[in-house]
Symmetry: C2
Subunit: 364 residues, 2 copies
């Protein structure tokens, strides 16, 4: 398969509170070394090598994080870092990326993916992307990638699969329906019924295809996109910015994917982890014989005695010592230490709100 | 009462592991801000003001800690810091102090006390010392101070009281017997029987009196003391050092007090806390409505949500955040973080040995 104008768009604008205090406002999850010790964003860029030309990989980020992106990826071409004028969710982000890419390469095909996932092995990842890219080549099909669920997750959206598109591998289906994050009973039904995949947040389409879908499904978004394209062609940056800020603040799933009749889902035949909370780190960290899992960077160390099932995340020259404790998350990064039970790690947002309410937004 | 040659000797050479990682080899417990936020050693020096002339307060410490003493007490006269040539327990420490003081002031009366206790109020403290000093004036009586037990402690030695010496206040008794740290059942018996006091480790005697007791009870100690005195008078520092290192390595309780027929015990009518472990800090820290107790220095902060009964000790510009945890000790000092249950805090020595065994003596 040869796709002449193949571009990758890494969405790296997310913030989020589930990894506080490791993550902060200016240091989001994708900047953390959660990919088996490597920075998620770096791992995401590296994972694209071989399928995408280096000058066709783009990172969309925000003003607060742009400096961090440049620092973490000093080799990454600056002109391929797209800075969003404001936080507007994924639909305007994709519109801006589309307008920017088309100004250089009008016949572009785009793969869009989050910056903060762990995906292995890379060969299978490329294979699944190639399958999606081929399906999108008709300038109409919007491709999403779905992960076979291994447990009744309530933290992911699901895609209900329709008929298989053909007999090729990896398998691909018409998407019958998008289901938002379900409650546990519903998730269990999905798992029992089969034919449901987790929505990975990875997409493939041509620029023409996604613009056609915008025009059909969300005219205000399409209008903003066309305005960005025109301004981009003319090099009028202020006009690009204005158009971006006029785009509806919405997600591409909600604005386009859930309603488009031309969505295909490719089964993601990879190990996939969106590393949703500290708890998930047990799958990417290193555990000792007592199930104490450590994720350490920058000279950090862990010492545990009479302790089982804990997760330690530490950065910098410091040692976290555990004595007689079980099933805790202990995080020591910069000017903050967090201690919470592993089973509460997914609720960290509550603590972050509390920190804010205490007037300590400086910690966030 | 007028005592012309009244000296105080602060024994500040202890190390200890029960406050690791707040305490380290070069930063023992007495250097920590455990006296309601003030450094224990500083509080001990300040507590003597008004009863002892500034040039008659002495600190005995070791080589590793002498610099810290000078840094923490920049106003304290350098010539009154006595540096032990090696770690030899309290009997040689007292012998060296006695020889040093007598070289300047042959008729000295001495109060000897640990550097690492919290004692309040100061007026009562002085009153109890004056009582002891008066009893010691006969150049024969060795005075110890005993604290009325409030629970069956197994971590303290006990003094069994004999007959009251007189009707004066605070009460004083002939010491009938010293009892080493008892097991719980024995401690409970002591408490039920009455007439037992905790050994505070504070003493009063004249220089002549303690030397006479050494001569009677422990001739090798007496011999080393006399050698130190002679060398001190002649200004022969190397000879002082040699004599010190020849003194038996033993405690003054074991070498002298437990066997002397001339021991009196004055009841310590003060609030007394020897701050034996992190757990004890709940009595000297500041607790919130959820019984979370914080001992914070140097800009440290604590934030707790859905958490009860924890103890946080932190120094420096850092915040310890607790979320959904109960009855933990969390310490964040320098390059180390410790998490352990409060009920295990008294066993920290185990962890410290483990740290050493892991080849991380640099942390101790």
């Amino acid at each position: 398969m040869t796709v002449k104008s193949l571009h990758a768009v890494i969405m790296a604008g997310g913030s989020g509170t589930r990894f506080w205090p490791a993550s902060r406002a200016a240091r989001p999850k994708q900047f953390l070394p959660l990919a088996r010790g490597r920075i998620l964003l770096q791992a995401t860029v590296d994972r694209l090598a071989g399928l995408f030309a280096p000058d066709r990989v783009w990172i969309v980020t925000n003003g607060a994080q742009a400096r961090g992106v440049r620092r973490l990826l000093p080799q990454f071409p600056r002109e391929q870092v797209i800075v969003e004028p404001g936080p507007r969710d994924t639909a305007p982000c994709i519109a801006l990326a589309t307008a920017t890419i088309e100004a250089r390469d009008p016949g572009a095909t785009m793969v869009v993916l989050p910056a903060d996932q762990v995906i292995e092995p890379v060969e299978q990842f490329h294979r699944m992307l190639r399958r999606g890219i081929a399906l999108a080549a008709d300038d109409r099909t919007l491709v999403t990638f779905g992960v076979a669920p291994t447990f009744p997750a309530t933290g992911y959206g699901y895609i209900e699969c329709g008929d298989p598109l053909d007999g090729a591998e990896p398998r691909a289906f018409a998407a019958r329906r998008f289901r938002e994050k379900p409650d546990l009973a519903t998730a269990q039904q999905f798992l029992a019924a089969g034919g449901f995949l987790w929505n990975s947040g990875i997409f493939a389409w041509t620029a023409a295809g996604i613009r056609a879908a915008m025009a059909a499904g969300n005219p205000p978004l399409a209008e903003a996109t066309e305005a960005m394209r025109a301004a981009q062609r003319q090099g009028r940056r202020a006009a690009v910015r204005r158009a971006f800020l006029q785009a509806p603040k919405t997600s591409v799933d909600y604005a386009i994917m859930e309603h488009s009749p031309h969505v295909a889902v490719v089964e993601a035949t990879v190990e996939w982890d969106d590393v949703g909370s500290f708890r998930a780190l047990t799958s990417v960290g290193v555990a000792d014989g007592d199930r104490n899992c450590a994720l350490l960077a920058g000279g950090a160390a862990q010492i545990a005695l009479h302790s089982q099932g804990n997760l330690v995340y530490a950065e910098g020259k410091r040692t976290v010592a555990l004595f007689g404790v079980q099933e805790l998350v202990v995080v020591a990064v910069g000017d903050a230490v967090l201690v919470c039970p592993r089973e509460r790690a997914a609720d960290l947002k509550q603590l972050v709100e509390h920190v804010r309410a205490q007037g300590r937004a400086d910690l966030l």
